[in-house]
């Protein structure tokens, strides 16, 4: 769970890195089975982080402070 804006920025940077890794794998990997298996981990983590970002951004800072 993202607790503050610092963690939000860190998560956004992490998402970008994972996306770059997935894109790089797509370029470098020639074996379809290897690609599907390897990229699935990165894509799953991107999904998890995107959900955390959505949850954080869904709440106003004032609401978060009052919670």
């Amino acid at each position: 769970m993202i607790a503050n804006d610092q963690e939000l920025n860190a998560t956004l940077a992490r998402i970008a890195w994972f996306q770059q890794q997935a894109a790089g794998l797509r370029e470098a990997e020639t074996n379809p089975a290897n690609y599907r298996a390897a990229v699935s981990g990165f894509l799953a983590e991107i999904d998890r982080m995107q959900l955390a970002v959505r949850e954080y951004l869904s709440v106003l800072p004032s609401e978060r402070g009052a919670a």
Binding site: A10, W17, E45
Partner: protein, 148 residues
């Protein structure tokens, strides 16, 4: 390399520290029942990955290599040799390379790629896993074979 002491945050200092599985389990595998269970999972994952004879590098990161009393799971990143073909791996070992199934079966978050797929090269790719989810940096452990 001797594994360093934890810092004041309960993490290893930044760096990639090489240790055998036995050394890693000795240092991190004791304490709560949960920690011991996670250590057992790590041992099994290592054994299964090693059975492919295609592991170039095996790195453990995340809360298992910290002072956290009850780590939820074990986080692993594997670099496989470029000759590795996952379709030739069968049985329980194959689950290591399927992220969601590894999570369900081993309680582990496992990432992997072949050496040629490492973003920015091997060292950069391995070093990245020191970055915590909050953006901070903490040390990680590369498990290396016993010297015979």
């Amino acid at each position: 390399m001797t594994l360093p002491a934890f810092n004041s945050e309960g993490n290893l200092p930044p760096g990639v520290y090489r240790a055998t599985l036995a050394e890693t389990l000795t240092r991190f595998g004791h304490g709560s029942i949960q920690r011991q269970a996670v250590a057992d999972r790590l041992s099994r994952i290592y054994e299964l990955a090693a059975s492919t004879e295609q592991v170039a590098r095996f790195v453990v990161f995340g809360s298992f290599v910290t002072t956290k009393e009850e780590p939820n799971d074990v986080d692993v990143v594997l670099l496989m040799e470029d000759a590795f073909d996952v379709s030739r791996v069968s049985g329980e070992a194959a689950l290591v390379f399927r992220h969601m199934e590894a999570e369900a079966r081993f309680g582990a978050s496992i990432f992997w790629t072949r050496r040629s797929g490492a973003l920015g090269g091997e060292q950069a790719m391995m070093g990245y896993w020191q970055v915590r989810r909050d953006g901070g940096i903490r040390g990680i452990v590369e498990i290396v074979p016993e010297v015979t």
